[in-house]
């Protein structure tokens, strides 16, 4: 059994079998899993915001869907993944509070925008999105297994889900 490597918030990591990757408590953030089934090069990014070009303070590229997925892709290729074999799975993008109105409204819906931005970036890179578990109103802890490419999703009071 390999190690379970933790990916923090606004963070990304690439590993190879037998090591695996996890990120804890995705709320409105998205966990983007990239996987090459042949070389078993495995990558996970935990992004917080959709678009780096709309934020002044954007030095941490792992914070954003556009720059974070690009960096994860580059790191995967560097680690020996084959571009044409890469597949993606995404999870997260929840709406944690049902705030009805007010200034916080745009932030509250950031989960949905994160999911859209992630899909758009994957499409631009030509990576096939094979499955996803996004939206709704609860947090998710994800585990990405390098041997199988299985993406396990754990949520409070819900059965374990595999995508």
């Amino acid at each position: 059994m390999g190690q379970m490597i933790k990916v923090g918030m606004a963070d990304l990591k690439v590993c190879k079998a037998p090591d695996n990757l996890t990120t804890i408590g995705l709320g409105s953030c998205i966990g983007i899993a990239l996987y090459d089934p042949s070389t078993k090069v495995t990558g996970l990014a935990h992004i917080m915001l959709p678009d780096s070009s709309q934020i002044k303070n954007n030095s941490n590229i792992a914070k954003f869907a556009d720059t974070g997925i690009q960096k994860l892709y580059d790191d995967m290729i560097k680690a020996g993944a084959n571009k044409s074999r890469l597949v993606a799975k995404i999870a997260g993008g929840a709406k944690m509070f049902e705030l009805g109105s007010g200034a916080a409204q745009s932030t509250i819906n950031v989960g949905e925008r994160n999911a859209e931005a992630s899909r758009a970036k994957l499409k631009q890179l030509g990576i096939k999105l094979v499955s996803e578990d996004c939206g709704l109103n609860y947090g998710r802890t994800v585990e990405l297994y390098s041997e199988s490419g299985d993406y396990l999703i754990k949520a409070v009071g819900k059965p374990l889900k595999k995508i």
């Binding site: 408590g25 409105s28 917080m48 934020i55 030095s59 929840a94 705030l99 932030t107």
Partner: protein, 208 residues
């Protein structure tokens, strides 16, 4: 060197002191309100104010996967933004049991009534806190209806992380402990929109 141009660090330090004072008064008001509601004597600690990297916010209360209670409200009028009040499950159960006049050890899942009791606690705490801020700044500030979420700490805290993350790399947290003979832990997070920071500071005679 003239001292008219203060560095951002100095301003930050003054700002943190101001928020600490607001936190102190606000939490004091809130504690009194809850003590009256429960007819108990409740003590509170001096608030700790922490400026931390946004990425660390998910684990600022405890384990990232610990299930906690988050109560969130919008903030309107002169200051726009939102605020959040967080408690561990133990504290939340204790508070609800007191409010509902239940047995001390009752720890069943929260029902609708319990959740609305928690919202009321959120209302009182936010109201007291914001009236302290309003009193100090002479700004009109009003809370919106509260919402309660019970989930993993990191997932709940992703909300303030995103809000602070839109402005920069740092988040500001105010931590206060309060309790009767039973220790309770509560955390406030005030999340003003970017322009509201300036309003708070300039109303206090400070500038960025």
């Amino acid at each position: 060197m003239s001292d008219t141009h203060k560095s951002l660090d100095e301003i930050n330090e003054m700002y943190i002191d101001v928020l600490k004072e607001i936190g102190n008064i606000g939490a004091g008001n809130a504690t009194t309100a809850i003590a009256n509601m429960l007819n108990l004597k409740i003590d509170m600690s001096v608030p700790q104010v922490e400026l931390m990297p946004v990425e660390k916010i998910g684990s600022c209360i405890g384990a990232e996967d610990e299930v906690i209670v988050g109560i969130m409200l919008g903030v309107e009028l002169d200051i726009e933004g939102s605020m959040m009040f967080l408690m561990d499950m133990r504290s939340a159960h204790h508070l609800v049991n007191q409010l509902m006049m239940r047995d001390y050890n009752y720890a069943e899942d929260f029902d609708e009534m319990d959740l609305s009791a928690l919202k009321e606690v959120g209302n009182i705490i936010a109201g007291s806190y914001l009236s302290a801020l309003s009193g100090l700044t002479n700004l009109s500030i009003s809370p919106t209806v509260p919402f309660v979420t019970i989930d993993m700490a990191a997932a709940i805290l992703s909300v303030p992380a995103v809000m602070f993350g839109m402005m920069g790399d740092k988040a500001l947290l105010i931590k206060t402990e309060f309790g009767d003979d039973f220790e309770m832990n509560g955390f406030f997070i005030l999340m003003p929109e970017e322009e509201s920071y300036e309003k708070i500071l300039s109303s206090l005679g400070l500038s960025l």
